[in-house]
């Protein structure tokens, strides 16, 4: 379980692991030599595992500054003949897109695999983008595993196919594969670092004349892949014994189909596609030719449905199509076996256990289960920083452009959150049209190095008047405390080098000083930079406990507390709650959970009656 010893032990065995750890093991078994990635849920554990493994085994792995850089590192290794890989989340694939659209024209040499983690249902993302579209439009060969075991095995196949066709591979996972926990069969592997070399050729120069010649070659290559997949074993037909209905599916959706059919007690022919681009046209047409109805089950977009429906028309095949087009399943959010079963009932009938009794109870009790949104952790330095900021921003009716990170959880001042680096990019725009209010951009250290730098250079160059707040918590906390360049490159030096004149820094736990520092910065022409620096409280708490050091916690004096709610209602520290001592309904006061308190002291600074103090 996140166990590095299991991950690297060179032995055939069954291991209980996360889908992402299985993918990492697949890369090790395939002999990956270079791995680079930027973290992003649900892909981060692949990279975490491989970077930890690289420290023990003889290959190279790193946390890169962004997905494009990571993919370029891996691609460079590949064209020197080395097996290489990157892993990213779906929106990270957009960042890397500029690079890989051209990689396709040139092709690769050593196996080159990109693992993308899509996030249907937006568990930890800003959209539900279906990466298969981006993949197919760029001419990636796309594999879609349906379980953690398959995910691991497909990684190995991916490297082989990539080398066979000199073609980049996209392996599409989703949250429910990446964050599934299952027992997975591991195999032995060969290790040992190899050096690469770059062949002197025009092939790797994407100049117009060369690209013009490469494009038809790429399309011809994809035709060869299409011929080959029919025999590859990636398309699996199950229970093909009737002519009325057939289900075409791929990835995690296949598992929902299996459980849905079980709950409906039905056997229906299934075609499961392991490779979703290029399409295995022969297998698909063979499967469909004698069927009156074809049902597509897939998450989010009708990718298979649209492409395969077109294929049917091109081949004069006219089964009735069921899927997103007639509402069998929705075009948004994730599926489960019940949703799929309900969809299948719409196509061919059947019955499920009624949930009406449960739904009635849910309706009657829903007011008693209020939304519990994710919050800043107890002691979080971001909460402190935002509380200070909120005092200034609200007073001045400021415009607040935020970014992607833990700080997206701000409940007080944020107006916009879009994508990595957009805080500064958009502040450049706001500065052009909003003149009578202060404009703020806020970004974390990792996101600043990811895509914040070009936008800040733009602001300095064009003299955009806004205040940039950089929350430097010394790591990429949101995705699991990964290291990033802030460890070695002082952010104040970077912004100074970019030409920012007004740069200040403060400790967000120092409440009055923080407020004053922000106020002062507003007196200066922007772009100004305010660095709020404090190590992630969560990680600090963990490290301190691990060292066995005592954490000095705070408590409330119930006699002094006037129950004004400043610490609970306004500051919202999760370690603080109302006393639910029903014997004292008249005397209300707050209590601080000593198991959660990190001793940051901010509540004691903002308490108007001085009721909160350190436990002596």
């Amino acid at each position: 379980m996140g166990n590095i010893a299991d991950l690297i032990e060179n032995k055939e065995k069954r291991v209980l692991c996360l889908g992402n750890e299985a993918i990492a093991r697949g890369a090790i078994e395939a002999g990956v030599q270079v791995f680079a990635a930027y973290p992003g849920t649900p892909s981060s554990e692949i990279s975490g595992a491989l970077i930890a493994a690289a420290a023990e085994l003889d290959f190279y792995a790193e946390w890169s500054t962004n997905e494009k850089v990571a993919m370029e590192i891996a691609y460079a290794a590949s064209i020197t003949g080395i097996r290489s890989m990157t892993a990213l989340k779906h929106v990270g694939l957009n960042v890397a897109a500029d690079a890989f659209y051209s990689f396709m024209y040139m092709g690769c040499k050593g196996g080159f695999v990109t693992v993308v983690g899509d996030d249907p249902h937006c568990f930890s993302s800003q959209n539900e983008q279906d990466s298969r579209w981006l993949g197919v439009s760029a001419n990636f060969i796309i594999l879609e595993p349906s379980s953690p075991q398959e995910a691991k095995d497909f990684v190995k196949h991916a490297f082989d196919i990539s080398e066979k066709f000199e073609a980049p591979i996209l392996l599409r996972s989703t949250t429910r594969i990446s964050h599934a926990r299952a027992d997975v069969q591991y195999y032995e592997y060969e290790s040992g670092f190899k050096e690469g070399d770059l062949e002197k050729t025009t092939r790797f120069k994407c100049l117009p004349a060369i690209a013009r010649a490469n494009h038809p070659k790429l399309l011809e290559k994809m035709e060869r892949v299409k011929e080959w997949i029919h025999e590859s074993g990636f398309s699996v037909v199950e229970d093909d014994n009737e002519a009325e209905y057939g289900i075409i599916t791929s990835g995690i959706s296949y598992s929902y189909v299996k459980d849905a059919l079980k709950s409906l007690k039905k056997t229906i022919p299934i075609l499961k596609l392991g490779m979703v681009s290029p399409l295995d046209e022969k297998s698909i047409l063979e499967f469909a030719q004698n069927k009156k109805n074809i049902i597509f089950i897939e998450e989010v977009d009708p990718y298979l449905e649209d492409r395969i429906s077109a294929l049917f028309i091109q081949n004069s095949l006219y089964p009735r199509i069921h899927g997103k087009c007639n509402g069998i399943t929705k075009r948004y959010h994730e599926l489960n076996s019940r949703i799929v079963a309900e969809g299948l009932i719409k196509a061919f009938g059947g019955e499920l256990l009624s949930l009406s009794e449960i739904q009635k109870a849910v309706e009657e009790t829903k007011d008693f289960t209020p939304f519990r949104p994710p919050l800043f952790c107890a002691g979080c330095q971001h909460r402190a920083a935002f509380y200070e900021l909120s005092k200034v921003v609200r007073k001045r009716d400021g415009i607040f452009s935020s970014d992607i990170g833990c700080y997206s959880l701000d409940p007080w001042v944020t107006d916009t959150i879009v994508c990595m680096g957009a805080s500064i990019g958009m502040a450049n725009g706001f500065a052009r049209v909003i003149k009578d209010k202060p404009i703020f951009a806020l970004i974390g250290d990792s996101t600043f190095f990811h895509t914040g730098l070009p936008a800040l250079a733009n602001a300095v160059y064009h003299k955009a008047n806004f205040n940039l707040l950089i929350l430097d918590n010394r790591m990429t906390a949101m995705t699991g405390f990964q290291p990033n360049p802030t460890e070695d490159i002082p952010i104040e030096d970077v912004v100074k080098g970019l030409g920012v004149n007004y740069i200040v820094e403060f400790d967000p736990y120092d409440f009055e000083n923080g407020k004053k520092t922000i106020e002062d910065a507003l007196e200066h022409e922007g772009p100004t930079v305010i660095i709020m620096r404090k190590i992630c409280a969560n990680e600090w708490w963990r490290r301190t406990r691990r060292k066995g050091e005592k954490i000095e916690v705070f408590h409330t004096d119930s006699e002094v507390c006037i129950a004004c709610g400043t610490c609970i209602v306004q500051y919202q520290c999760p370690a603080i709650s109302w006393s639910l001592d029903t014997n004292s309904k008249d005397k209300n006061y707050t209590v601080i959970d000593p198991a959660m308190c990190t001793g940051c002291s901010v509540c004691s600074q903002i308490c108007p009656t001085g009721a909160i103090s350190k436990v002596e």
């Binding site: 649900p42 981060s44 949703i339 939304f371 709650s577 639910l580």
Partner: protein, 201 residues
Amino acid sequence: MTEEYQMVIVGVGGQGILTISDIIAIAARKKGLHILGSEVHGMAQKGGSVITNLKIGKKLHSPTIPEGSAKVLVGIEENETLRFIKYLEPRGIAITSTTVLNPVSWKKNKKAAIEAQEKIDKNLAKFKAKIIKIDSEALAHEAGLSLAQNIVLLGALSQVEGFPLSDEELKEALKERVPKKYIEPNLKAFELGKNAIVNSN
């Protein structure tokens, strides 16, 4: 055991939900059973509502458990038990802590919090499940490890009829999963949770 045993573990991010799901998974694997679970990582973990799915059996496919289909629910926070009890099959079993962690909206409104608490039994009863309540906070404290409420509930789970893993199997797995210096208080927390059920039967 039946072909597939489905369960959900619920609570608030940070309560050790993944730890007990790991322990169950380790124990199941040792017994030669397959395991398939689904967990929440990233943003949702931070103090938000958390639900983890776990399937134990022979031939497993999808990693998630739809509403109305889990045999047992383990709830480390009582309001979260109420939120997620819909995942239980009709007349399934809910083992729930009596611990309450108020959501932000209730921190603003003590009346709502008290009302919700007064009505919790009535509300849970509407789902027609078998409810087993455990004061995991007191028992974890008694075991000398206030963070071990999850393990108290795991001990209670070991006594549920039809649960495919024995208390001994779970304790062996626990020893593998928790840091060495915390094994003793965790085992004590496990026993206290187990006895809470034994004594109430």
